[in-house]
Amino acid sequence: MPKRDDIEHVLVVGSGPIVIGQAAEFDYSGTQACRVLRAEGLRVSLVNSNPATIMTDPEFADATYIEPVTPEFLEKVIERERPDALLATLGGQTALNAAVALHERGVLDAYGVELIGANIDAIQRGEDRQKFKDIVRSIGADVPRSRVCHSMDEVRQTVAELGLPVVIRPSFTMGGLGSGMAHTEEDLERMAAIGLEESPVTEVLIEESVLGWKEYELELMRDKHDNVVVVCSIENVDPMGVHTGDSVTVAPAMTLTDREYQHMRDVGIKVIRAVGVDTGGCNIQFAVHPRTGRMVVIEMNPRVSRSSALASKATGFPIAKIAAKLAIGYTLDEIRNDITGETPASFEPTLDYVVVKVPRFAFEKFPGADPTLTTTMKSVGEAMALGRSFTEALGKALRSLETKAAGFWTQPDPAGATLESTLEELRTPRDGRLYAVERALRLGGTVQQVAEASGIDPWFVDQIQSLVELRKQIVDAPVLDEPLLRRAKRYGISDQQIAALRPELAGEDGVRALRHRLGVRPVFKTVDTCAAEFAARTPYHYSAYELDPAAESEVAEQRERPKVIILGSGPNRIGQGIEFDYSCVHAALALRDAGYEAVMINCNPETVSTDYDTSDRLYFEPLTFEDVLEVVHAEQQSGTVAGVIVQLGGQTPLKLAQRLADAGVPIVGTPPEAIHLAEDRGSFGEVLRAAGLPAPKYGTATSFEGAKRIADEIGYPVLVRPSYVLGGRGMEIVYDEQHLASYIERATEVTPEHPVLVDNFLDDAIEIDVDALFDGEELYLGGVMEHIEEAGVHSGDSSCALPPITLGVTDLEKVRASTEAIARGVGVRGLLNVQYALKDDVLYVLEANPRASRTAPFVSKATGVPLAKACALLMMGQSIKQLRESGVLPAHGDGGTLPPEAPVSVKEAVLPFHRFRTPEGQGVDSLLGPEMKSTGEVMGVDSSFGMAFAKSQAGAYGSLPTSGRVFVSVANRDKRAMIFPVKRLADLGFEVLATAGTAAVLRRNGVPCTVVRKHYESAGDGEPNIVEMILDGAVDMVINTPYGNSGPRIDGYEIRTAAVSRDIPCVTTIQGLAAAVHGIEAAIRGDIGVRSLQELQAALRAERS
């Protein structure tokens, strides 16, 4: 009995913006679901507020609603679309929570919408910790002892029985938000209070500690005939106590006997049955005591999860795709295994390789945040690698991260590190702890000592010990001969690592030359789900080195179609996220259509680009020079490589461009010399001068004295930053000499090779972002975005509107002419992003990036034009004229000439401040600045700016308030500008609270307001100060602009972090305030409707022609 015939129309719910704990993996799963459902002939409607996703491309659904993933908006979509069923198990916790809310509000019943995948009971059984524990016990399995608490009193009572340490887990939060381990009474008081706060139902679980136990996960799937398969087992290298998203994980499990593994499998199958996930996937987490083997079940996700994405990429078994098919009635044995093409999906993948995933952190972005790894997830991305052994996969994974250290031995040890200090360091889990494991072993620690200190299983520690031994051989060998080199490579050691150990080899290039001379090159194996038992039809490859001279490479010859290799963007990090993957995927799709063989290289398991059917060939490899070069070589051996694309994956591939070109690799699109022209300030200055375009005055300094001289000359404030960065790493606005000195002191690497740039900072300017295509002759202005925040806030963190809401025709003409002059002057072929600041009618050029930008997907969606696809075709030699003729670009007009009726799209950034705490448990500052801090974005689209902005806020933070109390405290320079919008809020019925200075100005202008004390003005008379009021939930929105200069601004900091921890809107710029008032007005009018992207774009196309 195949597919159900009573479902014709499915509403798929996406996961909204990328946040920590919920990232691109849900674009991957949602995209697969949409593809599958449409291929089955169903109508698919989709809701997701994240424009940077592939799933929200109009071709993936019949009706795509880029609307907030909230019950309010979902109800509007359901009312309009009348779907038969709702699929929420592929959209992460956000979608699942929204589905539960729709059920509780009676919306699903009212419209007769069936929840498919997992029903409400199953969701609640899986998510409600107490219900779940009862179920596990009822099937005869073990759980940690625990109790659910709703108040601090209950918490204290429970701990009196269980003893410390205990784990605190709030109910219904994602990514382990608010959870952690309390070792002391003080920890307990603080963490339990936060946990109760974070839980939407004021509920925490207090649990027996399983800290240090071995941690495992199983990915299971079940169909309506009750067939269950285990897709993958995952073992965490970091034992219990570190969130699995922050752990180094390995697939398959490495240290279980069959007896133990089968016991785990039996329990997993009983759990999925008892919880009642009828048709789809789930993830179950286990802890095993390392000395007694006692196994307890920790938790389950009754949905596709981050681990499912990892398991899919690790095994080649597409969990999301199959979950979607199961949800509409197929059974596992009716679904074909794509990879073998012959065998069914009702089997369990077996691996003949090892998969290692390592997390990518961004603590450097959040000064003051506690970098200790706990049960709250803090990583912002991950890299995965495959190898034929654990060490090979680990080495590849570590160098995939693009962190300062690119694997062991590539950075000097911390000064003064000893065995004792390193063992001590290992006792607290932190980012990069495997480096400390290696160091401890190298300094003479035993496997036992290191395993004891870190809690890491001795087998893994011994694997690293084998690397320490190999290192010694490499260092001691009189000459690096072929057998030793081959052995080093087989253990996953990179050319760069070998170069660090053998300085006489003249660096990585010398090692590579030697290696190639000796014929030591990798073979490429295939991910085939079955350990080679059956032939694989999908070319999904990874590299490996074998000692065996009989080793085989499995790359098939293909000499008919020219190949284009697309370099992806690597692990997600702040500043380089899913937006770049979006462009890479588009290029692959466009090139396949145009008759090329698209070859993808990437190492990020969360993405659509690493789906084996996105490109013709997939290499799951690190994006380092060495690894990319070997893939290019393998592809050149098996066919003709027409070009390599480095422009779409962000800074990761871009920074390889010159070296690849020097090595003879054909880079297509903007040539590396042109990239350099745009990125090097001196050369770029020349381009601007030649074109007569103004730029803020700036200078380049290699010392404090130099920087001071420049700042004195151009005047404060100045923007200081290192050269060659993405996401504004290390940028600051400096208002005086003292802060300049402290900045230079903190910027460790100020050398002639790494100078500091000092720019005149344009206060109060309007910032404009432009994405454009250029073919050498003609410019296509993709879109012009006006930032809502003033210049100075990183463009990735600021919200913006398209079409620009306050720019005039002459401004736009200036933008067009400047962009074309830059494109021509630099020599762009493909996409170009330019940032401008408009001040006093002068359009200053801030910077130009000759690559696909973060905003490319937003612009593509807002204007209905696939910019990245067009870019890929331009790079392969087509012209804009040809693209207009073939319909890829509109026949006439462009993103700078949108019709007056065009809808307004607003992009808003989503910030992760609430996930970080200082070691003392305080929140971190939520202030925006020139350094990018956001993890993702949402889009709001409607016919007017106010409504679009309101939607963007609802999508990012939950809705703007329509009544209640608003607190206002602004810097002196903002006092004049805030009067009108705050008065409007008062007129709309808000109660206005203000600090004394702000209140005086408001009152003089006839705005009634209540004075509240600043937090440090506490008089001790019981009258609460503003911070206390915010924490008590007495305030619905905060308007707080920073006072003057950078650095820690104590008062605002307390207020903003309080707002962040209460999750209420916190507006930190005056422009943002104006936009918020627009949005509130629109929300109060209550006439915000929903429209699908397909309708919006059809209307746009009609107006254009």
């Binding site: 279980l256 077996t350 087998w459 065996d548």
Partner: protein
């Protein structure tokens, strides 16, 4: 190659292909049929499974030996595999039940292995060319390639090999029922694994494990409630004695349950013929569909031969009608037969698992139900 490093282990296949590596376990020479096993766990159970007698087992999982060797997971009294081929042996074991390392145990039992082989290339080769004779050679110096190949070519092939007599118990023994004895079962040991009588014992069965040479008269004289045909090595076409015993059991309508080799013997007793698979089913992830219910079990398997037949096919036998009750959706291979007029059924896979998933364990309950029905 600079010629100074001499590999001290080699795997030589009968088609002349040679894989070089490092010695693992005992040094010496091992001859047998090279087969690959895709299980990611359970090497201890695999090594001690008598069905692997005279086979050189290639593990596709790259890391082997991680959990060492313990005193609880042996499936028989010794390691039966002839030779062992792995990629990365563990340097240290890590498991709370481990008492020694895999390498030491292989050495102690004189099992010759080879490590460092590109087991994936080897598996692909066996997949395409089929399981074949091979030899593992290890030591300080190895014979010339031609000499090694000649030794391999001189070894007997698996087709036509009668091997159960080498692995069967010399004397009958009894595995008592756990708790109250409900049934007595005569189990013909063609290479039985420890977990099989254990799982029957858990269900109140007293298991009399009998040598393969036991006659039908001796067996029936025990008046068993049921008869069990175990797994075992070799070519089922040579098993004329066991087939004849089975026919006698069917004639007397004593409930009969067979697994693996036992499935092939029941099939033969029902008049089916057997053939050698190209490379067999050896793994713990193999789907089997029950024709009656359409449900899928993930099973442990280890067979190089199979019964001829079509999924769901019904046919007449000397004992009434019978049907092909189970098949593998990967390749349509027969995975179970059932007599419809006499109480006998069998499966090609391992409900006792060890190593492998427990999905098929209810087959033992089904055996109990058949005996109950017969006794009632």
């Amino acid at each position: 190659m600079n010629g100074t490093v001499t590999p001290s282990a080699a795997l030589v296949l009968e088609d002349g292909r040679i894989f070089r590596g490092e010695p693992f376990g005992a040094r010496g020479t091992a001859l047998g049929e090279a087969v690959f096993c895709t299980g990611m766990t359970g090497y201890q159970e695999t090594l001690t499974d008598p069905s692997y007698y005279r086979q050189i087992v290639v593990q596709t999982a790259p890391h082997i030996g991680n959990t060492g060797w313990n005193d609880e997971d042996d499936e028989s009294a010794r390691i039966w595999v002839a030779g062992y081929v792995v990629r990365d042996p563990a340097r240290i074991p890590s498991n709370w039940r481990a008492t020694r390392t895999l390498a030491d145990e292989l050495d102690r039992q004189g099992v010759v292995g080879i490590a460092g082989v590109d087991t994936r290339s080897l598996t692909r080769h066996l997949r395409e060319r089929g399981a074949m004779r091979a030899g593992v050679f290890s030591g300080e110096t190895l014979p010339p390639e031609q000499e090694m190949l000649e030794q391999v070519l001189a070894s007997p092939p698996m087709a036509g090999a009668d091997l159960a007599k080498h692995v069967t118990t010399a004397e009958p023994y009894v595995v008592p029922a756990h708790g109250e004895r409900r049934f007595r079962v005569a189990a013909l040991d063609l290479g039985i694994k420890s977990n099989t009588p254990r799982m029957m014992a858990e269900r109140g069965i007293e298991v009399h494990v009998l040598p393969a040479s036991t006659s039908a008269e001796e067996l029936l004289a025990m008046e068993p409630d049921g008869v069990f045909l175990s797994n075992g090595p070799g070519d089922p076409a040579t098993m004329d004695h066991a087939t004849e015993v089975t026919r006698q059991v069917l004639r007397h309508e004593v409930p009969l349950f067979g697994i693996c080799f036992g499935n092939q013997i029941l099939g033969r007793a029902l008049g089916m013929s057997t053939y050698k698979l190209r490379y067999g089913h050896r793994g713990i992830n193999i789907p089997v569909i029950d024709v009656r219910t359409g449900t899928v079990a993930i099973t442990a398997q280890n067979h190089g031969f199979a019964l001829e037949g079509e999924p769901g096919e019904r046919f007449d036998t000397d004992f009434g009608a019978a049907e092909v009750s189970h098949y593998c959706p990967n390749d349509g291979c027969v995975e179970g037969v059932r007599a419809l007029d006499v109480p006998a059924f069998s499966v090609q896979y391992h409900p006792e698992a060890a190593a492998g998933p427990h999905d098929a364990a209810p087959l033992f309950d089904q055996f109990v139900a058949v005996m109950e029905a017969k006794g009632a």
